[in-house]
Symmetry: C2
Subunit: 204 residues, 2 copies
């Protein structure tokens, strides 16, 4: 158990919120300082530059989600894993936040290389996770996909990222459901047939 600075912890926590809500170019040290109740110079003590802060935030965000994803046994119940994974996405709904890494990916031109590398790692982690589940669905359940698992995983991750963003844009949480349904049906045997919209996929 490593000793942690509670101020540093709070700074990081609020940075996660600010980045997920307004993005890298959309918040300042002043915003963060006021939220935590310190002066901006104290932020520099823990994170010398804003880029250091962003890197730490992406790493903490990825580590947190990565741990949850790694804790799901690859050989456990497929549908259960997928639902737990989708709940991870869904919990952003209504908070004004989107996926921190989806946000920063859009702002890539404002970010240094080490942050970009961390973002790439986040994307790769998700795509690998989804790919593994799709492969199991194909092998165990004979599911048929419209593309190879690793390719389909990329589109599903993209649809989820964009789903959060468009759900916030329209103020309609249900806009994430289309992407969720896509992953859900990909691990369900009777996919590939035209289906009625799932109960949670109401569109208006």
């Amino acid at each position: 158990m490593k000793a942690v600075s509670p101020v540093r912890e709070q700074l990081l926590e609020h940075t996660l919120v600010l980045l997920g809500t307004r993005g890298y170019n959309g918040f300042s040290y002043r915003d963060l300082a006021e939220l935590v109740g310190v002066k901006t110079s104290s932020i520099h003590y823990y994170f010398p530059t804003k880029e250091d802060l962003a890197l730490a935030a992406v790493q903490a965000y990825a580590a947190n989600i990565g741990e949850i994803m790694r804790d799901m046994d690859v050989n456990g119940p497929l549908k259960e894993q997928v639902e737990k994974y989708l709940a991870l996405w869904r919990k952003n709904l209504g908070t004004g936040r989107v996926c921190l890494c989806g946000m920063l990916a859009a702002e890539a031109t404002s970010l240094p290389q080490n942050v970009l590398a961390a973002l790439q790692a986040f994307y790769s982690m998700h795509e690998a996770w989804i790919t593994q589940r799709l492969e199991r669905a194909v092998a165990d359940k004979g599911v048929q996909l419209p593309a190879p698992p690793s390719v389909y995983a990329m589109t599903i991750l993209g649809a989820l990222q964009s789903g959060l963003i468009s759900a916030r844009l329209f103020g309609k949480p249900c806009r994430l459901d289309a992407a969720s349904a896509m992953l859900r049906s990909a691990v369900t045997p009777e996919n590939g047939k035209q289906q009625a919209a799932p109960a949670d996929a109401v569109l208006s």
Copy 2:
């Protein structure tokens, strides 16, 4: 033929580039003024506030793309229309730009309501276009989709938006291909079966 101010035209044109590259919070009047070769005060003459500028940019962007989309006869050759549509997305590759509206959607919390409304209209326009083509593929070609056309259209648009962003993040243009392949296969009769990756969908 309405008279147009060449300076206003240039300002708008460069704003499209700046917004698609760096986003709303990622560029300044100074950046824009230097690109066009005027002083910042001249920008205010044409666009009193930055929000006015953003609104005009979104409207110009949507009008330009909307015209191209409307010019494609709904009853024309399906595959040809889809390829023309995908070319619209592909032309961003390698330019450092993503879809202007996908970018601004991520920055929604920094934007005024009228810009958000214009962004929603852009999204709706694309989803309606894609939905119509998917419906034709289902009706004419008996294609089977993993979701109702309007739902699947939403995921395809999301995958395309995110595809551009992740292609830029990784520096790999081929990252857009997964989303392209999804739309392409959705209007191709022998979809639904497990397919080999299309030639342009090489992943590494």
